[in-house]
């Protein structure tokens, strides 16, 4: 159940682009590429008329439909451990099965995942499986070439201004992206149209800013849209960037949220607690847990997961007319967005700084995280981030300098909850245990609420 009309429209959209890739495969007019989200390369794909298949998305669909297990078991039968990224295991298991049969596995979710013409993997700094997954799949599709883009960014280091090094990072990323263009030109036998690329980059930039403005509306009390919806509206952000459809989607969502705010219509009828989804990918098979939170009066005005954009007008990146150079700067601007703020607060760090910012801006009462056992990329560091937060948001009253310079006694306790399961491996999940944990967490929030009121 979603709170917004916009989020409700996502399911058919996803189904359409899965079936669209199958139609394109059958027609054979356009090249199809396996690839990953958050690589800032969508504009290049679309300018070259290459159809992306977001393989993490397909694995997520298998998970959401509770139909990933048979593909995970296929992967295990090849010798792959269940402890590895289950998106990748699901994808590899599916590929192996499809290639073995020479057709889609029986009753494949939404018709299945089309065979690609090539695969674009990404050796990002944050995800090993991204450069290993397609290499493993190539065992069953040796005729399908891979281009691996290396997209590093400077890791936050306390004693360094990232601008001291980002010049050579930028130079490298530009070369990697130009390499991608050359690869696609060779595969499609077409030349890149740089004017079109520039237009698409501009469209994406405008969409980025629009998303930021739209999501900022969720600061309203009561909150008009929660994380349960955002796990749907992540689709245009992550799978449809550089399309007019994505831009229009957020125009409509923004309008819908403004209307809800005017009517004081919240995600939940009687908003008692405002929570942040502070880290971790969701358990795609258990999104109804958000509804369970809602039923207790808890709303989620903000999340860090899948909000893979940042306001460009607040990014300190150089101007350039070259769209490839801009993509590289935007990449660096995005990943270093919180660095300056983190430098200013002793003991902070970009991910922690982002959490603090969201807690303050969205008036957050508690933090919920999810630890998916199979993914180190997004799920390592969460415990430590909560440790750092607990140094600021202490379970005792603290005095701060308030209005007119007077001391004020405030309660800044911020309870947190870490849920444990996986992104798509349903065998790791217990609904009873999860909901018991949620109930206990809600009790803590209620106790805090009463303390504050007193």
């Amino acid at each position: 159940m979603t709170a917004t009309q916009a989020a409700a429209s996502i399911g058919p959209m996803v189904k359409e682009f899965i079936t669209g890739t199958l139609r394109a495969r059958a027609e054979g007019k356009q090249k199809i590429a396996y690839t990953f989200i958050v690589c800032h390369h969508e504009e290049i794909f679309r300018a070259m008329d290459v159809i992306p298949i977001w393989t993490e998305n397909f694995a997520g669909i298998c998970g959401a439909k509770r139909d990933a297990e048979r593909f995970l078991q296929k992967a295990e039968s090849l010798g792959l451990s269940r402890s590895l990224c289950t998106y990748a295991l699901c994808g590899i298991g599916f590929d192996q099965w499809r290639e073995e049969l020479g057709q889609m596995p029986p009753d494949a979710p939404w018709g299945g995942q089309a065979r690609p013409d090539f695969m674009i993997s990404s050796g990002q700094i944050l995800c090993d499986p991204r450069s290993k997954w397609y290499q493993a799949s190539q065992q069953f599709m040796p005729d399908v070439p891979i281009y691996n883009i290396d997209l590093p960014y400077p890791l936050f280091q306390r004693d360094r201004d990232h601008r001291d090094v980002w010049g050579y990072y930028h130079k490298y990323i530009v070369k990697q992206l130009r390499g991608l263009v050359a690869f696609l030109e060779e595969q499609t036998k077409k030349k890149m149209d740089y004017d079109r690329l520039r237009e698409l980059v501009n469209l994406s930039d405008r969409t980025w800013n629009l998303i930021e403005e739209t999501y900022d509306l969720r600061k309203a009390v009561p909150c008009p849209m929660g994380t349960g919806d955002a796990m749907n509206t992540m689709v245009p952000i992550n799978f449809m960037m550089a399309t007019q459809q994505a831009y229009d989607f957020f125009v409509n969502l923004k309008k819908e949220l403004e209307e809800k705010i005017a009517k004081k219509e919240g995600e939940v009828e009687n908003e008692k607690y405002r929570l942040m989804w502070g880290g971790g990918l969701p358990a795609w098979f258990a999104l109804t847990d958000f509804n369970y939170f809602n039923s207790k009066g808890a709303s989620f005005p903000v999340e860090t997961t899948y909000r893979m954009v940042a306001p460009l007008n607040q990014m300190d990146i150089p101007e350039t007319k070259d769209p490839i150079e801009h993509l590289a700067w935007r990449w660096l601007g995005y990943w270093t967005f919180w660095y300056d703020r983190a430098q200013k607060r002793p003991g902070s760090e970009p991910d922690v700084e982002r959490l603090i910012n969201r807690i303050e801006e969205y008036k957050i009462d508690g933090v919920v995280m999810h630890e998916a056992f199979s993914c180190r990329t997004w799920h390592v560091g969460l415990i430590w981030q909560l440790h750092q937060l607990s140094k600021i948001y202490k379970p005792i009253p603290v005095y701060v300098i308030g209005k007119e310079g007077k001391k004020e006694k405030i309660y800044r306790e911020l309870p947190s909850l870490i849920l444990e399961s996986d992104i798509i491996d349903i065998t790791s999940y217990s609904e009873v245990d999860t909901r018991n944990k949620i109930d206990a967490f809600i009790e803590t929030l209620e106790s805090n609420r009463l303390n504050k009121a007193a």
Partner: protein, 386 residues
């Protein structure tokens, strides 16, 4: 570190069991020790700065306790163990720590390390994921940043001559290690796998000059040996990541196998490749650490268009060493939650099949508690190939 030549392996054992003993002495002498994990950290630069590189290791007998309060249990168990020892103060003699982009566990936990430990110096070295000309250029710039960071920390310039000199010393070190591996070619080998891993593990806790002296002493000791410490048995190859304890190898040898070759990180993967001399030292180091260290973390393009060609190219070292050391069987030892190695298991299995080397793939959790299970599986494997 000192020891008479005739009992040098006893001395090695002492330093292995009390890991960091020499480092503590050096700390008292006012030396700066810089800890590191993974084979991707260019030790030559640390040594050229006047600091002493010290490989932090885990302990399979030590339950992970304090570390788990700060770091998720989905991190590779070897790395968790190292972190746990560090937060318990095992490495308090260190002045700093260097972590490279070796895997997600290293990258994502860097903040946790740098804020949880009291060292005054931390540095992260970003390693490209692909091997291309642009990657090499980038990596050179990144190594130069590392060099400047150490210069700032020590207050001493690191000249090209300093680097050239340490490159030479490390290359000598690798020659000596290679010479030690030569003793494994005898049947049965003149040095056991447990002895060799113990020497290399201890060596990574010493200044490079002392490690070289140690190797000279060990080489002299082994040369004097009339016979092998092992009975003739199946010649076993160990394939995997970092194996900084001897328990698995000892187990294989107790069960009658002879461990004669490997691709492990504190073994052939790290010690066999040398740095080119006569070129710009940073360029030479970039090429060694990126191109020559054959780690699954680095993506290597399939230029053959076939799966068979791809695995022959990616795993060439396994085939070459298996032939050179005449192995009868291999153990692929992979840690749970290790994505870089874990995703290669099917391809590695196929490669071993293609070179007709029987394989025992094992997934383990870096704990002494699993040794009895491993014993059963290894025993069955040795009986099968014996």
């Amino acid at each position: 570190m000192s020891g008479k030549q005739d009992n040098i392996l006893n001395t090695v054992e002492k330093y292995y069991k009390d890991y960091g003993l020499r480092a503590k002495e050096l700390k008292k002498e006012g030396k700066k020790l810089i800890g590191y994990v993974c084979s991707f950290v260019p030790l030559e630069i640390i040594s050229a700065s006047g600091c002493i590189p010290f490989r932090v290791r885990g302990d399979i007998y030590e339950p992970i306790t304090k570390g788990d309060a700060l770091l998720e249990t989905i991190v590779c168990p070897y790395y968790r163990s190292v972190f746990d020892l560090a937060v318990k103060g095992k490495y308090e003699f260190l002045s700093g720590l260097v972590i490279p982009h070796g895997c997600d566990s290293m990258v994502r936990s860097y903040s946790t390390w740098s804020y949880s430990l009291p060292y005054s110096y931390f540095h992260f070295v970003n390693i490209p994921t692909v091997c291309a000309e642009s990657s090499s250029e980038f990596f050179q710039a990144e190594l130069d940043t590392f060099r400047k960071s150490l210069e700032k920390f020590t207050g001493k310039a690191i000249t090209d001559d300093d680097l050239a000199r340490t490159i030479q010393i490390y290359n000598e070190n690798r020659d000596k290690v290679k010479a030690l591996y030569e003793f494994r070619k005898a049947d049965p080998p003149l040095i056991s796998g447990a002895e060799l891993t113990m020497v290399l593990t201890v060596g990574s806790s010493l200044p490079i000059g002392e490690f070289n002296t140690l190797l000279d002493q060990v080489l002299a000791e082994i040369r004097k040996r009339g016979k092998s410490p092992l009975k003739k048995g199946p010649r076993i190859f160990i394939d995997g990541a970092c194996l900084d304890n001897i328990e698995l190898i000892k187990l294989v040898e107790e069960l009658g196998g002879n461990v004669v070759a490997d691709t492990i990180c504190n073994g052939a993967r790290d010690y066999f490749p040398k740095t080119d001399v006569g070129r710009d030292p940073i360029d030479a180091l970039a090429r060694r650490y990126l191109d020559k260290i054959n780690c699954p973390k680095t993506y290597r393009e399939n230029k053959t268009g076939t799966f068979e060609g791809d695995i022959a190219s990616r795993f060439w070292d396994i085939g070459a060493y298996a032939k050179e050391f005449k192995v009868d069987g291999a153990i692929l030892y992979v840690y749970k939650y290790c994505d870089p190695f874990g995703f290669e298991v099917p391809a590695r299995k196929a490669y071993y099949k293609s070179i007709n080397v029987p394989l025992l793939p094992l997934e383990d959790v870096y704990s002494a508690g699993t040794m009895s299970q491993l014993r059963t599986r290894i025993q069955a494997f040795l009986e099968m190939i014996g």
